[in-house]
Amino acid sequence: MIRGKPDEDDYWNSSKFKAFTFDDEDDDFTRLKESKRAVNSIRSLVEEEDEEDDVEKVSWSGEPVGRKAKTGSFQSFSESFGDPSIRNYAPELRKPKSEYKDYVSDWTPEETVKRMQQGKVYSLEKFRSLQDKLLLLDEAVNAHDGNVITAVLIYLKKSLSKEILFRELITREIALRHYIHYLKEIGEQKLLVELFKSMDRTEDMALMQYRDHLNVRDENKKRDFLKNCLSFPFSPDDATHVQDHYTLLERQIIIEANDKQVESSGQADIFKKYPRKASILNMPIITTLYYSCFYHYGESDGTFSSPANIRKTFRISDKQFLLTCLGARAKLKAWFDVDALFTTKNWLGYTKKRSPIGFHRIVDILQKNNAPVQVLQDYVNLVEDVEQKISLAQKYKCHDVIINTYRDLKDRQQLIVYRGKVERGSSEYRKIEEILSNSQLRWKN
C-alpha cells in the first residue's frame, strides 16, 4: 500500500488532477459536469437556482456527497446532525470555501470514511497524493459499504489518470468490482473495455458484452450484435457457444421468413394441417430441431432447415437427435418414420432395431404421443429386461407381448392367471386357450 517515490512521480506527471479547476476541454465534459454536480449535491441543494454554467466554478473542496446524517436506531450513538431539513441549510455549508477547508482538513482516511457512512460533512479533496488516495480507498473497502466505496472511486476517477487507477485496482478486487459496477451503471462502455483489457480479464469483458444481447429485441439487430461478439476474447468453450448461438439465430431468421411465406401462400399441406403456433426465432437449438423434424422432415442434407444439416452443424448427440426426432414424428403419427429411426441394416441385408436409449423410454415417449397398441407392442417387445417388458406390456395392455413372453418362458401358471384377466371370448383369450392346449409345449410348471 505504501508506495515509493517512482509512484509519486507518476502521480505528479500523469495525474489528471488539477487542483480546484476542471479541464473544460475534456472530451467527456458533460460527464465530468454530471459527476461533479453529483459530488457537489449538497451545495446545489442549497443553491438550487444555480445555472448550469455556474457549476464549473464549483470546486471539489469540502462538498460532501451525502447530505444528511442518518436518523434512527443509531442516532443515540452518533452525534447526529439533527433534523435533515435544518441540516440541509446548515450554516457551515455556507461558509467561504477557505474557512470550510480548514474545518475539514485534518480528518484521517478512517475518520473521513466514518463521516461518510454517518452522512456527515466530509471532504475528499485533501487526499492529494496517490498514497493518501489509496489509503482512503482501502479504508472505504474495509468498511464494506458500497455507497462509500463508490463515492471514493468517483473521486479517484476524476483525480487520477486512468492508467494509474487501473493499475491500483488490479490488487483491489472489491474496489474493482464496485468500479466496474459503477461504469456499467453510468454506461461508460468504452472505459470499461479498456479497464478489462488492462486487467487482463478479457473473458469477463467478453461475457459482459455478450450479456447485452439479452436487451436487443429486434432479431436482425440481435444477429448482428452476436456476429460482432464473435471477435471477443471468450474462453474456447464459450467461444463455441457464442458461435453456435449466432449461427442458430441466423438460420432461424432464414427459416422463419421462408416458412412464414410458405404458410401464408398455402402451398404446403403440413402448414395447413398443423398451423405454426409460434415463431421459431430465439428458440433453443433442440426446439429448432424439433420444428425441423416436424415441418422439414425428409429435406435433403443441403438445406439449412433439414434435420440432418442442423444435427451436423450443431453437433447434436445421437441421443438428443433421436429423442427429438422421435417426439416430432410421433406427434405427427408418422409411425413409418419412427420405425425407420431404429432400423439398421447389416452388410448381409438383415434389418435390426437399435437405439442409443433404452426401449422402455421409447415406449414411454410413444405412449405419451398416443401411439396405437400395434405400434407400441413392437417396441415393448424390444425391451430386454423381461420383468420390465411385462410390466410395460401390462401398463399399456399389449396382450400379445405378455402372452408370447409367458409362452417363451414356459410359464403355464402365469398364463393361466393372465387368462383370468382378459375378457372371455376375446381374441387374447382364444390365443391363450390355444397355447395352453398345445401339447407340443413343455411347460416348466
Partner: protein
C-alpha cells in the same frame, strides 16, 4: 398483529417497536397530509413492520404503486416515495414528477416531494435524479434502515434477496455492512453479545465490522443486561449443499411448492373454495390465489410447521379429534354457567376449526405432489448424491429430465448438488451437462452457468481429492434411520440428511469446534471466536439449568428446514441452548438458483 413476536425466548417485539417508532418519526417530519408511492417490492417487508392503520394515524391518505407516467391525482400536501436504491426506479420517479419542471418556479407548489430510501440512500441514485433534473424537487431525502425485520418469534430476516449474489458473485459486500449495522441495533436493544463465533470469509468481515463499530461507539455503552449469550455467524458458502436439497418439513414443502414471500404463501384457490360461502355451490370458482399468512400467531401452524411432512397426517387427525371433542362438549353443558363458558370459548374453537380446515387443504395439495412419481424420482437422486452414490458419473435421471425439458432450475439444482457432493465434476462430465443444458434451454444460459461456476456451486474437479465423504462421515450428515414421526435428530428435516450448517451449530454448543478442526479446515474461510467486553455489573449470572441463548446468523440465506432443525435443537430437553435465527433472506433451492441467473432486464 404482533403478539407472537413476544412469546419467544427473546422478545422480538421490541425490535419491531423500534422500527415502527422510526417510521412514525419520519412520517411526522413531513407535516400535513400525505400520499405514499410504493416501490412494490417493499410493501411485503413493510407489512411485517406496520399496517395501514399506523400510516393512516400519521396522515397518510393515499397509497400508490410506483409506475411510469404521471402521478395519480391526490389532494395531499406531501408525496413520499418509498423506494429501494435502484437506478431504474429513479428513472420512474423522474418521469412521475418531471412535468412539474414545466411549471414556472414561482407558482405555488401544492405538493412537497420526499424520498425515503430503504434500506439506505445511494449516491448513484441521487446522481441519477440529478441527471434527470429532478433532485432539486425533493424537500427531503432520507433513508429508512430496515436491516433486521422480525419475521417470527425466533426469526429475523433482512429480506435482502440479492445478498448471496452480491457477496459471492459480485464481491459487493454492502449487505455485510448492513448486517453488522443490524447487529449493532440488536445489541443496542438487547445488550452486548459477549461471545462471537464464526465460520467463513463474510462472517469474519461482519465480526470485524462489529468490533470496530463497538470501538467507535465506546462512549455510549448500553447498560442493558445481555439477552444473548453468543452469536454464531455462518457463511452460506460453507454449506452449499443444504439449500439445494428438497426440504421435507411441512413449512419447507409449502415454500418449495408454492413459495413463501414475506411470511405469506399464495395457494391455488380450488381447495379453499367450499369454506367461503356454502350457499353458492360451485357457482364461480375463485380464480385469485388464496393468500395466507403463515406464522406462529396461528397455534396449529406453530405446532406442525416444523414436522416432517410424513408426520403431518397424524398430527392433523389428532387435532381434528381434539376439536370435535371440544365441540361435543356442548352436549354436556347443562347449567347456564356451563353454557356461558362454552359460548365464551366458541370464537377460539371456530378459529381452530378453520385453521384445521385450511391446513388439511394445504396438506392435501402437497400430498398430491409428494406422492407423485416425479417427486419420488427426484428425491431418490438427491439422496443418492448426498450419500455419495455414483456422483462421478453422468446421471441418467438428470439426462432424462433435460430431454423432457423439465424446468431449468430443477436441472441446475441437481447438477449443482452432484458437483457439491463430488467436490467438483470431472471436466468431461461437466462439459457434457453444460452442452445438454445450452442446447436444450438456450445458449444465453452460458451466463448463468458461468455465475454458478464463479460461486463454486458448479466446478470442475481439481486434483485435490473429494473430501465430501469425510465431511459427511465426521459430521454424521447422513442418518440411515431418520425417525420422521418422533425425531431424535435434526436429520428428520430432510428425511435422512442432517444439514451441515446446523450440525456445525450443534457441535459448537457441545462438545465445541475443537473436536472437528479437521473438517472445519476443509470448509472455506476462517473459523474464529471473539469476545466482547461487558460493562461491569452486566455479567449474567446463569441459574443452574438455565439455557444459553445463541443467535445464529446465516449470511446469504437460510432454508425453512434449517430453521426447523434449529427449533428442534432448542426444544431438546437436555439441549442446553435456545436459538434465535437471523438471516439475509429465507431461501430455497429454487429462489436461490434464480437469484444467480442472468435474465433479460425488463424492457
Amino acid at each position: 398483529m404482533s403478539a407472537h413476536l413476544s412469546y419467544g425466548r427473546v422478545n422480538l417485539n421490541i425490535l419491531r417497536e423500534a422500527a415502527r417508532k422510526e417510521l412514525r418519526e419520519f412520517l411526522d417530519k413531513c407535516a400535513g397530509s400525505k400520499a405514499i408511492v410504493w416501490d412494490e417490492y417493499l410493501t411485503g417487508p413493510f407489512g411485517l413492520i406496520a399496517q395501514y392503520s399506523l400510516l393512516k394515524e400519521h396522515e397518510v391518505e393515499k397509497m400508490f404503486t410506483l409506475k411510469g407516467g404521471r402521478l395519480p391525482a391526490a389532494d395531499v400536501k406531501n408525496i413520499i416515495f418509498f423506494v429501494r436504491p435502484r437506478l431504474e426506479l429513479m428513472d420512474i420517479i423522474a418521469e412521475n414528477i418531471s412535468e412539474k419542471n414545466g411549471r414556472p418556479p414561482q407558482m405555488l407548489s401544492p405538493r412537497d416531494f420526499h424520498i425515503l430510501f430503504v434500506p439506505r440512500r445511494s449516491m448513484l441514485c441521487e446522481q441519477r435524479l440529478k441527471e434527470q433534473g429532478v433532485l432539486g424537487s425533493f424537500i427531503n431525502i432520507d433513508e429508512y434502515i430496515l436491516d433486521l425485520i422480525p419475521y417470527d418469534g425466533d426469526l429475523l430476516s433482512m429480506e435482502s434477496e440479492g445478498a448471496f449474489r452480491e457477496c459471492y458473485l459480485e464481491s459487493d459486500q454492502t449487505s455485510l455492512y448492513h448486517t453488522a449495522k443490524g447487529l449493532m441495533t440488536l445489541q443496542a436493544l438487547y445488550g452486548t453479545i459477549p461471545q462471537i463465533f464464526g465460520k467463513g470469509e463474510c462472517a469474519r468481515h461482519v465480526a470485524n465490522m462489529m468490533l470496530r463499530m463497538k470501538r467507535e461507539f465506546a462512549g455510549s455503552q448500553t447498560q442493558i443486561l445481555p439477552v444473548f449469550d453468543s452469536l454464531l455467524l455462518l457463511d452460506r458458502n460453507i454449506d452449499l449443499l443444504t439449500p439445494l436439497a428438497t426440504q421435507l418439513t411441512y413449512e419447507g414443502l409449502i415454500d418449495e411448492v408454492y413459495g413463501i414471500t414475506n411470511g405469506y404463501a399464495k395457494l391455488p384457490p380450488e381447495k379453499f373454495a367450499a369454506q367461503k360461502k356454502q350457499g353458492e355451490v360451485g357457482k364461480d370458482l375463485p380464480t385469485e390465489p388464496k393468500k395466507m399468512q403463515l406464522n406462529s400467531a396461528e397455534e396449529l401452524y406453530a405446532e406442525i410447521r416444523d414436522k416432517n411432512f410424513n408426520a403431518i397426517g397424524a398430527a392433523l387427525s389428532k387435532k381434528a379429534k381434539i376439536i370435535s371433542a371440544a365441540f361435543e362438549e356442548r352436549h354436556n353443558a347443562k347449567t347456564v354457567g356451563e353454557i356461558k363458558q362454552f359460548v365464551s370459548q366458541l370464537p377460539h374453537m371456530q378459529a381452530a376449526r378453520s385453521s384445521l380446515a385450511n391446513h388439511t387443504s394445504i396438506a392435501e395439495l402437497i400430498k398430491d405432489i409428494t406422492t407423485s412419481e416425479a417427486f419420488f424420482d427426484n428425491l431418490t437422486v438427491e439422496q443418492e448424491f448426498m450419500t455419495g452414490v455414483d456422483t462421478d458419473k453422468v446421471n441418467t435421471y438428470i439426462e432424462d429430465c433435460i430431454a423432457q425439458k423439465d424446468p431449468l432450475i430443477k436441472i441446475l439444482r441437481l447438477v449443482c448438488m452432484q458437483s457439491v457432493c463430488n467436490n467438483g465434476l470431472k471436466q468431461k462430465i461437466l462439459d457434457y451437462y453444460k452442452r445438454e443444458i445450452l442446447q436444450t434451454y438456450g445458449y444465453e444460459h452460458m451466463l448463468t452457468l458461468n455465475n454458478l461456476e464463479k460461486t463454486g456451486l458448479l466446478k470442475p474437479q481439481t486434483s485435490t481429492r473429494n473430501n465430501y465423504p469425510t465431511i459427511r462421515k465426521t459430521l454424521k450428515l447422513w442418518m440411515e434411520d431418520a425417525n420422521e414421526q418422533n425425531p431424535n435428530d435434526i436429520s428428520y428435516v430432510y428425511s435422512g440428511y442432517a444439514p451441515l450448517s446446523i450440525r456445525l451449530t450443534q457441535v459448537l454448543a457441545r462438545p465445541g469446534w475443537r473436536s472437528i478442526e479437521e473438517v472445519l479446515k476443509m470448509l472455506p474461510g476462517p473459523h474464529f471466536e471473539e469476545r466482547q467486553q461487558l460493562p461491569a455489573g452486566l455479567h449474567k449470572k446463569r441459574q443452574q439449568g438455565e439455557n444459553r441463548t445463541t443467535l445464529v446468523f446465516f449470511l446469504g440465506g437460510v432454508t425453512y428446514a434449517e430453521v426447523a432443525a434449529l427449533r428442534f435443537l432448542s426444544q431438546m430437553e437436555d439441549g442446553g441452548t435456545e436459538y434465535i435465527i437471523a438471516t439475509t433472506k429465507l431461501i430455497n433451492g429454487t429462489s436461490w438458483i434464480k437469484s444467480l441467473m442472468d435474465r433479460p432486464e425488463a424492457p
